[in-house]
Amino acid sequence: MTIAAPSPSGIAALVDDNLAPRGIFAVIFSFLRRQPVGAIGITLVLIFGLAGVFANWLAPYNPTSNDFSAMTEAPSWAHWLGTDQLGRDLFSRILFGARTAFIVGLTAAFVGGVTGLVLGVGSAYFGGPVDLWLQRVLDIVMAFPLIIMALVVVSIFGTGLQNVILAITIPLIPRCARVVRSSALAIREVPYVDAARALGFGHIRIILRHMVPNVMGPFLVIITAFVGQAILAEAALSYLGLGVQEPVPAWGLMLQGGAEEYATTAPWIAVFPGLAIMLTVFGINLFGDSLRDELDPKLRDR
């Protein structure tokens, strides 16, 4: 059997295909083509995300305006998703509710994730007592389920948008730190990190330039999961009356009070905010799963 050596032009083609930098659109298109389920997920997320961003222009009514001539109206041409017991347009409230959900979800996920990233990589890099003590502290925080921890934080600091973000961010930090640390521990041992140390690079440079970029895969995946968790947690806190307060439009808040009181006579008050929560979190989870598949070389080609 003869094995022909690859021609120089063939090698160049391989390099072009696998190593040459691609444009962002090409990367996105490639991702969507390979991960159609993820494409559905990101589409759902984008629909709700853009609805929140452009709510001022898209909403047909003021989401906080009462209209006593239209109390508990069923879905119609005038009110696509109906109205609540105070005559407020549900479509408008869901659009603005998306804004609340994404502000909380993205902020909590980003701040909690980045803090967790720094702590996780730092813990793995320094090791020894730093790693030992930091991990024990994170263990304590992680001992409490996310919603319980969030309830504790809200009880201490009070309700309101900022405090809700804080309440959800804090329990996310150790979860991210734990995942990132496990990846960073392996990276700490690779030769190029040793080489960087040997060349006299500082800790910060080694962490930021050589370790953080190599844990971005799991980090991005967990961040997407956090967005969904944070949106759910915000809805739960608002439903319990501990999140944002009326009349601020928020999906969890819309499920509280009137939605329960009118569940049998005006079910649309509960159904549509519930659907919004479900579809958004569903979309985020689909996207997150696909992103994980895409970034994991073992899963990519399955």
């Binding site: 009326e246 009349p247 009181e261």
Partner: protein, 538 residues
Amino acid sequence: MAFGLRYSLIGFGAGLGALIAAIGPPALAETPKRGGTLTYLIPADAPPTFDGHRETTFATAHTGAPFYSVLIRINPENPGSTTDFTCDLCTEMPKPTDDGTTWTFNIRQGVKFHDGSPLTAADVAASLNRIAFPPQGILSPRSSSFEMLDKIEATDPNTVVFRLKFASTAFLPALADPFAWVYKKAILDKDPHWYEKNIMGSGPFKFDVFETGQAIKGVRNPDYYHKGQPYLDAIHGIYAPKQSTRVEALRSDRAAIEFRGMPPASRDELKKDLGDKITVQESDWNCGSVVTPNHAKKPFDDARVRRALSLAVDRWKGAEALSKIANVRTAASIVFPADPLSPTKEQLYEIAGFWRDIDKSRAEAKRLLKEAGAENLSFELLSRDIDQPYKYVGIWLIDEWSKIGLKVTQRVLPSGPFIAAQRAGDFAVVQAANCHGVVNPLIDVHPYLSSSISKQNYGNYEDPKQDELLNKAMHETDPVKQKQLMFQFSKHVMDTEAHKLMILWWYRIVPYRSYVKGWKISPSHYLNQDLANIWLDK
């Protein structure tokens, strides 16, 4: 008491009773059955404390009333009346002497506290002295209700004498306050705060157990002094702040009754689903939503700003709409709307926030804000985490204020922290309720008096002029002149100074399981809550 006023009060009482009777269940004479446990719902997370002398919330009343006795009360068989006072611990209702300034009550003999010790006149005097003349460090929001009172004495173990500074029609209603629980003097002497965290009375039920945020339980007091009562073996109060939880508990028969009141939608839903298994009693409610700006915080020290807040709210339209979804119904002054002392509608139209033309009213509000340099004002409204009617009224008010350019957010707190925040002055504007037991406007308006006089006034203001106006009304015995003085007082409080904003009066709807018998609705959710006359027809 002047005959004119007496007749007008009796007429009012009879009228209110007739109204309640007309919308309540038919009164059939049935023989009470003994036994069973009443499971009832308390629409709050927990009482701030157990001390009825200190608290003004139903959360405390519905928790503690079954364990305590009072000196006198509104007749539990006729709780809709405003004049039918009967004895609880006394033996008979006395006639006043010394031109109406001395009231001598004989105390029942043989009454025992739940710890087995005898209840005497000294315990009654000590308890009422604690309410009327609270010692240093003791909070008594009802002390101003007793401003006609000079002193209370236990002249012997069975006699309590009340000496008044001046004769007043407001004395008996104040004395019949359903929170005027009789405590044991020996305990009060040892620790004046003991009753804030403990329960021990002489009422129809003995305290069994309190589970924080969950339940309060009591068992029948075999030594109870009203013959044959209580009919129940035990009571079980469940704390359930969420409206939907309470409706489902009634629907599934996990609980038999919630005494405070439910909105029309819940009544209709339960009645539709359960038919005859649900009975409904309804009544006007001596309870109103009141907004109080904190005068200690700028710009609410400015009457123009406070007046603008009131002028922005369209109470006429709001009452009509909100009555469909919340337990509010009537736009009226600070005087109970069905009372003879209440202003006429024409007089009401003169008061800020009650003008016929809301556009003109809001234009004036904007002008006042501009003049006061408070255009585009933003502030936080403190509210309570109880759906009915706080949540609905709060959302509605914020929308109404937005129509004059105000940006208002809401801080919603559970009952305990809510009351604590009010007492600490930790708010800019608060939406609360002015609720009372016996309908008696001369006493019921006391929370509007200067903060140094009324411990229920969390507005942090002093206004001797308005205090003087009410003082004159208290002393006036001619009903026509008294009504005029009350209008002057109301206009001063609601319009000239706009110290507080009377929003809407509530309407009480109590749907309950039809096997619950013996309970009769009243214009107050504080009244008739010792549960001694309730029995179960199961």
